[in-house]
Amino acid sequence: MSLLQVANTLITSGNEAQIIKLQNCITTDDVYMLVGSNIQVGGTGGICDIQPLVDSTADTSNDVSISWFDLKANTTFQAFGNNTQSMWRVTDGMHTAPNAANFMMYLYNWYSSSEYAYITMEVTSHNGSNLRGYQQGGVKKDSTSFNGIQMETNQTGGGGYQAGTQLTLYRVI
């Protein structure tokens, strides 16, 4: 397997943000690998979501189907599925550094205008009390051609995603 980096954002001090957009970087029908590293927010209790982009605009229609298994270091694992939501949730109950979330995702058919867009993800994160992480699969039942992806949080503390948060997209070739 070979990887070609097509986009990267590293949050730096003074440039904290609630939304990170990787725009105009999905340009072929290849599989793409999205890596989230050291994702941290400025306050406790935030969520981290993923949505597809058409240019700079997020597709927020409720046509995402997901199923996940939440691995937890402190208690029984949880299974969940839903057919009508507008995003893929990476994690919730986020926490400040050194707690962080990290993930590996594969994106399938995102550029296609005739196929649904699929995603798989494995997440490892610590919410300040416990280690947890989704093993998740999902589909956006929409044949729109998506050429980017955004990662957003509702956590406003410190301006959202903190310095060190990094989102990198590779094309698998």
Partner: protein, 176 residues
């Protein structure tokens, strides 16, 4: 040139219960991919391969600050959960047995070298042991703000050594 860079390849060609992969994590990369392939045991009793991290002083971190959660998938019975907090290792990285039974595992390690972050991992594994197949989906963390430069894999039982297999460490290069 691929952004996936091979850093280290370790071939297991002698009986051992501990394998230290040293000086592989550095400031050059934040995220690493590790593959463990075809590890098989000397004897006919299956092994549980665990992991610990090695810090920049060369010491294996055995403090009770590991957290892990792993789902064990089984071909012949119900899946089971395994977990631990404030543990001294990461359990169930892989199972294996005597060849032709063996295993394969893909693992990602996040930010090990940074002394300001925790070290996180996730892994997916498949194995054959005792005539049955199975696999793991796991996550883990070392909740220490220390610089990690290597990783140790070992036979949890200490008396079920393995004598074959290949471990490869790759870095995921990020170009600014």
């Amino acid at each position: 040139m691929s952004n996936l860079r091979l850093i280290n390849e370790t071939t297991i060609n002698g009986s051992q219960s501990v394998t230290n992969i040293t000086d592989v994590f550095s400031s050059n990369f934040n995220v690493y991919k590790i593959t463990l392939q075809d590890i098989s045991t000397v004897g006919t009793t299956d092994v549980n391969i665990n992991a610990r991290f090695i810090n920049s002083s060369g010491a294996v971190d055995t403090t009770g600050t590991y957290h892990y959660a792993v789902l064990q998938l089984k071909s012949g019975s119900s899946f089971t959960e395994n977990r631990g907090q404030t543990y001294n290792r990461i359990d169930r990285i892989s199972f294996s047995d005597q060849s032709p039974e063996a295993q394969s595992c893909v693992m990602y390690v996040y930010n090990p070298f940074s002394s300001s972050t925790y070290t996180f991992i996730s892994w997916q594994e498949t194995h054959s042991r005792g005539g049955g197949g199975g696999g793991f989906r796991g996550i883990g963390s070392l909740n220490e703000q220390e610089s990690i430069t290597g990783i140790q894999f070992y036979d949890y039982y200490a008396n079920r050594p393995y004598n074959s297999g290949i471990i490869r460490v790759y870095g995921l290069r990020v170009d600014s």
